[in-house]
Amino acid sequence: MSFMTLLKVSNLKVVYYTRKGIVKAVNDLNFEIKSSEVFGLAGESGCGKSTVALSILRILPPNARVLDGSIFFQGRNLLDVPEDEMRHIRWNKISLVFQGAMNAFNPVQTVGNQIIEAIMLHKKDIDKREAWHIAENLFTKVKLDPSFLRRYPHEFSGGMKQRAMIAMALACNPNLIIADEPTTGLDVIVQAEILRLLKDLKNEYDLSILIISHDIPMLATLCDRLAIMYAGELVEYADVRTLCTKPLHPYTRGLLRTLPTLDGDWQFTGEILKGEPPSLIDPPPGCTFHPRCPISKELCKRKKPLLTEIEPEHYVACHSVIE
């Protein structure tokens, strides 16, 4: 495995202008994805994790603005690339597997037609027959019967739709796939199949994957490194084993302890994380986690902790840990 950086996000700051105020969805975010790596971004709903995906692909809704920062991909800042070049990067270099694959397909067109449309849009020199041939190969790769290309989305089960979405994301041989909640709403056995498929495809195509989810156990089985996001900021990131066995940030620790586990002989212990995530319109000063933090001090209310390397490759943003 090479350790080249494929994507580097620095000081990313994204806001949404809404009627209620300015939502600071992503605040000073820094992380990098190495090539052939599966990088997980975990966080609760509304913490800004999907905004990160949309910023990378530059498909933010009109009321959003990137205020600051850079996103370097293969040596170029995606935020400065002209729009028609960006269109080439999408699907050809970076593709997206949407949240809720159930509804991502157009119900009145066959799945095959939708896939070849995407292929033909992004590969200009290909005719319809060739595109159909590519689509058939892709379906075989994601272990779907190619005859299903002629079927409509409602004839697919949830897991099959997700496979078809993955086939579509692979259509133009991208370097990076961004998967936003790829298994949410699927049953455990189907989820295990999709995770295995992603893992196999990653090895076969030497892909990098950015996978975004609220489901930490799911991420733990797939990712190489995992980052925890809270209220628009990264609070901790490390390789998966370190993060799951030796979490340092109080938020990560609380989250992991709250998760029910299948094995082990412990009983229900009750709530560990009190309160709710803050409003991103008016986030608390200092450390955004301090109102819920069991070990917060005076300093936490005033000064924002910086993401600091505590041990090699293990970054934490917490005053108590840093000291």
Binding site: S157, V188, A192, C244, L256, L259, P260, L262, E271
Partner: protein
């Protein structure tokens, strides 16, 4: 011996589906289920989507009419209770739904939502009394101070707060039995654990019995006393929670538990022991429902439906392979092949 609060006997709930002008078939959502829930117990029903677990919960509350079988609430058949006593029954059995965004009326504020059941059952005589009861309840579910929340509408509340309101509305009548259908699956982890914590507190305080419906095996294991594993309208395995999860006997339960991601597992490969895909519920497979997916299936599985047989105290399994003592080797060979390949 504890008292049985709810008993279900050979329950069948089929939904008619029209496919054409004259053709009609039935979806066998619940197809011959029997069990009893003891007072003070948390009984979980787990299963994949489409296994019939929500229909089962609704049938127990009398919200859908079964085609066959009986539901007894405190030894009374709920479908043959005299009309004038149905209301009392309803007061004792309540439901908490999965979706806190859809289960509350968007045009009713918190106060009206919670007071509605009291008015329907004519349990309050004055506005002052109603307010006292509602405010007390809001306090109980952690929405305090109550007057900050009473006038709010659902859209002004977060998901966790809405679920608290739903719980308050369910509890205001002092029920002794609650069906909770995935009450935390749409909430974030930290909020979900707060809601569970609240439900457990209230259980102790008011001596409530829960039927908990979930797809999350870890959650079922953590909170419940007993678990029933449902597949295609049938119970495949039932028993004490940790028995069913840690000492699973049916190939279905074994496959389900194997596919659950674990945080601390050294082996990150999730074994897939059964193929995915539910059979057509309009014409469920004959014999054992699982046989088209099960690598252990033999002729008898295709012909004869397995009965729930006790394998240990209180632990019942419906599987020919278990009762006949067949080798479970074929279930695991798939993983071995995979390991060989990856090497």
């Amino acid at each position: 011996m504890e008292d049985t609060i709810v008993e279900v006997r050979n329950l069948k709930v089929w939904f008619p589906m029209k496919t054409g002008l004259f053709s009609k078939f039935y979806v066998h959502a619940v197809d011959g289920v029997s069990f009893a829930i003891q007072e003070g117990e948390i009984f979980s029903v787990v299963g994949e989507s489409g296994s019939g677990k929500t229909t089962l919960g609704k049938a127990i509350l009398g919200l859908v009419k079964p085609i066959k079988g009986q539901i007894y609430y405190r030894k009374q058949d709920i479908w043959s209770i005299p009309r004038n006593r149905v209301k009392i029954l309803r007061r004792n059995m309540q439901m908490i739904f999965q979706d806190p965004f859809g289960s509350l009326n968007p045009k009713m504020n918190v106060f009206d939502t919670i007071v509605e059941p009291l008015r329907v059952h004519k349990l309050v005589s004055s506005q002052a009394e109603a307010q006292e009861r509602v405010y007390q309840m809001l306090e109980q579910v952690g929405l305090s101070p109550p007057k900050d929340y009473a006038e709010k509408y659902p859209h002004e509340l977060s998901g966790g707060q809405r679920q608290r309101v739903a719980i308050a509305a369910a509890l205001i009548l002092n029920p002794e039995f609650i069906v909770a259908d995935e009450p935390t699956s749409m909430l974030d982890v930290s909020i979900g654990s707060q809601i569970l914590n609240l439900m457990m507190d209230l259980k102790d305080k008011y001596n409530i019995t829960y039927l908990f419906i979930t797809h999350d095996l870890s959650l079922a294991r953590m909170i419940s006393n007993r678990i029933a594993v449902m597949y295609c309208g049938k119970i495949m395995e039932i028993g004490p929670a940790s028995e069913v999860i840690l000492n699973a006997q049916s190939p279905y339960t074994i496959a389900l538990t194997a596919a659950v991601p674990r945080i601390n597992s050294e082996n990150r490969e999730l074994p897939i022991l059964l193929k995915s895909g539910l059979p057509n519920m309009a014409s469920p497979p004959p014999g054992c429902r699982l046989h088209p997916r099960c690598p252990l299936a033999r002729d008898v599985c295709r012909q004869k439906e397995p009965e729930l047989i006790e394998v240990r105290k209180g632990h019942y399994v419906a599987c020919h392979a278990v009762t006949e003592g067949w080798s479970f080797e074929p279930l695991y060979t798939q993983i071995k092949h995979r390991h060989r390949k990856s090497r």
